[in-house]
Amino acid sequence: MCARADLLFKDFRGEEGDLIPLLQRAQATFGFVGPEAVGAIARFLRITENQIYGVASFYAQFRFTAPARHGIKVCLGTACHVKGGAILLDSLERDLGIAPGGKTPDDQFELDRVACLGCCALAPVLTVDEDVYSSMTVNKLKETLKRYD
């Protein structure tokens, strides 16, 4: 962590407004905001870890546990909602046995919802890692997941 910790703070001067960008960089670097990162940021900004968790927990973007191998995000933006996004999410919850925000015990998949991916014309939409799947149906979904086994 030490070598990477230096990288974490590169270009930052330790100002108040640096906290969120630092949390974002920690998450981009390690995939999540772990206790070591929080400790290092607290020392760098001279604030308490509690203050950091207080801010970080307010924002949906930050996660405090390591991510699974594949992340599935179901769009529940308005256009996707009216075209059945919730049914896709339900079907995933059932097949994977997890709720949004959770991950499978084997760390293979995690599931989340997002609001509008900007391709409403192709609703309903979901992403697996960086791949976007549009005009999804419950049955296409099952086929799609097999590619990530």
Binding site: D18, V55, I87, S91, R94
Partner: protein, 625 residues
């Protein structure tokens, strides 16, 4: 010759070299919508086809032209010829497009959707004469879909930074007067006059002032701001410079959602190019005006689109709104006078400065001058990003531009979660800040969601309220607790357990939350409920009294069944059903056990789309009651 004139000359040379008729150009839409539809795979297959036939053509990646339903779009321009547009292009077509269009000089007429030539071409409509585009007026979106958004010279050759150049010749006060005279109103939702906001800020005491571009775009079904940044980032950045010069600021921030990686990347590239050409930093274009811009990525909270919460977030705190006054123009970022403007507001400014207030007032109406972009989505034939003069009736937008709905029209929601759901009798309402507010909705930032009879308005009200409830920052009680109670009631109703008195409770709660919440989030959250209660009361009554959802959406009120005469006994649904609710031997009518059915839709889809199935599985509501 000034610095700017030299830069402009050089830019025009570069642009003419590309589009002046000497080269073959392939224009490819690669904004988020194009990419999601597969534009990158299309690009690869076109490159292969070009290489195979030894054809030379420049590939130009552009932003979204607005007809998202036609993505991926590929346009072909032969030397000296007009630009032809192909829609819904599949990688497999690349070979034929290259062989026919490039080698034989014959566009594939069956796949071409329009051309951009000046003269009429037999059998092929002009692109801007298409029904989706003919009623539009493109000012902010003018360059989207035409220029390479990652090339500053393309922007300048097409009018970019001419507005800034003009502004810098005038005293800042005159720039503000021009914007006041144009009557531009904030496009982030509230419609506050931009010139007046600037005047307040320029008159506020303080050495250090800020300009913030609000690119948080929180409406969960809208993408106007993202599309503009992805298609023409320089328009927005130029607008920030003009605002900075007008109010006497030297520093700006773009507050943008982290979920918009492509837009963020394009902003960063654009800023690096501006810096290299003297458009950012010290002494811009050789003038005494200095300005710098930083990017702040939002961390996923809807309320951070509200200006005081946004400031808290940039300062590194929890993004909670505070009461106003003091307004940000007096005490904003770090306690200093700050102007916050929406992406589209800023993107409009260069055009106003370049062409003048009188020109801008030539569009729209007296109280609502100019144009507004909308993301037109939902149950509509032609979805996409549009720009229309204010004052255009909703009917024209939905039926002429959008091509109408598949099933009969039921409602349109403007303003996202803060807006209202309007019924058919409001279709002749002209879009404008006051007219939409009078109807019980709001203009908002430009989300337009169209619903047909397959969409349940009670479910939509529940959806928006659930969204708001999850996004409530929790600081004030009416919003935190009130919206939760409202969601509970709506869940009961869509779940078939509502009672008549729930409607009165809902109405009362909605009015209280509207009146007593601290910020705009809570104050507007009840709008979807209040409007649906007013305009679609019968739908609520059907859900409560008859357990009937006419749109066949609310799942607890639905029932799946098999029409025996249609069932071919193909067993596809038997295999698809996750709970074993459907049984039956091959070639015999299947049986669906409603007590095991979880209404997951697998069988319904399969029975409709598989050729050997007979569309025998149906869903109905209220059938057994």
């Amino acid at each position: 010759m000034t610095d700017f004139e030299r830069l402009k000359e050089q830019s025009i040379r570069e642009w003419t070299d590309l589009t002046g008729g000497t080269r073959a150009v392939i224009t490819l839409g690669t904004a988020s919508c194009g990419r999601a539809a597969g534009a990158m795979a299309v690009r690869r297959s076109i490159e292969e086809a070009l290489a195979k036939h030894g054809v030379e053509a420049r590939i130009l990646e552009v932003g979204c032209i607005g007809s998202c339903y036609l993505e991926p779009m590929v346009d072909v321009t032969l030397p000296g010829g007009p630009r032809f547009s192909y829609g819904n292009v599949q990688p497999a077509w690349a070979e034929r497009i290259v062989a026919s269009h490039f080698l034989e000089g014959k566009p594939l007429a069956s796949k071409v959707v329009g051309h951009f030539g000046r003269d009429a071409i037999e059998g092929i409509p002009g692109f801007f004469d298409l029904p989706m585009f003919a009623p539009q007026v493109r000012i902010v979106l003018k360059n989207c879909g035409f220029i390479d958004p990652e090339n500053l010279h393309h922007s300048i050759a097409n009018g970019g930074y001419a507005g800034l150049h003009k502004a810098l010749q005038k005293p800042p006060g005159d720039v503000i007067s021009e914007v006041e005279a144009a009557g531009l109103r904030g496009r982030g939702g509230a419609g506050f006059p931009t010139g007046r906001k600037w005047r307040f800020c320029s008159e506020a005491e303080g050495e250090m002032k800020y300009v913030i571009c609000n690119a948080d775009e929180g409406d969960p079904g809208a993408f106007m701001n993202r599309s503009l940044i992805e298609g023409d980032p320089h328009a927005v950045l130029e607008g920030m410079l003009i605002a900075g010069y007008a109010i006497g600021a030297s520093r700006g921030y773009v507050y943008i959602r982290a979920e918009y990686p492509l837009a963020i990347e394009r902003l960063k590239k654009a800023m690096a190019q501006m810096r290299a050409e003297g458009l950012l930093g010290e002494g811009i274009l050789g003038s005494p005006f200095s300005f710098d811009i930083g990017i702040k990525e939002g961390a996923g909270a809807f309320v951070c689109g509200e200006e005081t919460a946004l400031i808290a977030s940039i300062e590194g705190r929890r993004g909670m709104p505070r009461t106003r006054p003091p307004f940000p123009v007096q005490e904003g970022l770090h306690g200093r006078p700050t102007v916050i403007n929406n992406v589209e507001t800023l993107g409009t400014l260069p055009h106003i400065l370049r062409n003048g207030a009188a020109w801008y007032r030539g569009f729209g109406t007296e109280a609502n001058p100019g144009t507004k972009t909308f993301s037109l989505v939902g149950k509509i034939r032609r979805t996409g990003l549009i720009e229309v003069p204010l004052g255009m009736p909703l009917r024209k937008i939905i039926f002429d531009i959008g091509g109408g709905t598949l099933k009969p029209f039921r409602a349109v929601q403007t303003g996202g979660p803060s807006g209202g759901c309007l019924s058919e009798e409001f279709l002749d309402t002209p879009v404008g800040y006051e007219s939409l507010a009078k109807a019980g909705s709001i203009m908002g930032s430009g989300g337009l969601i169209v619903m047909d009879t397959d969409t349940c308005v009670v479910d939509i009200a529940r959806y928006f309220l659930d969204f708001i409830q999850k996004e409530s920052c929790g600081k004030c009680t009416p919003c935190r607790v009130g919206t939760r109670h409202m969601v509970e009631i709506l869940e009961r109703i869509t779940g078939g357990e509502g009672e008549l008195r729930d409607l009165d409770k809902l109405q009362l709660l909605a009015q209280t939350v509207k009146k007593t919440s601290l910020c705009g989030l809570g104050q507007t959250a009840p709008n979807p409920v209040l409007t649906t209660l007013a305009y679609f009361r019968s739908e609520y009554l059907q859900h409560i009294q008859e357990r009937y959802c006419s749109a066949v959406v609310c799942r607890p009120l639905l029932e799946y069944f098999i029409i025996p005469e249609k069932c071919t006994g193909c067993q596809r649904c038997v295999a698809a059903c996750p709970t074993g609710a459907i049984t039956g031997p091959r070639a015999e009518v299947h049986n669906l056990d409603a007590s095991k059915c979880i209404k997951c839709r697998s069988c319904y889809e399969i029975c409709r789309f598989e050729a050997i199935a007979g569309n025998a599985i149906q869903i109905r509501s209220g059938g057994g009651l």
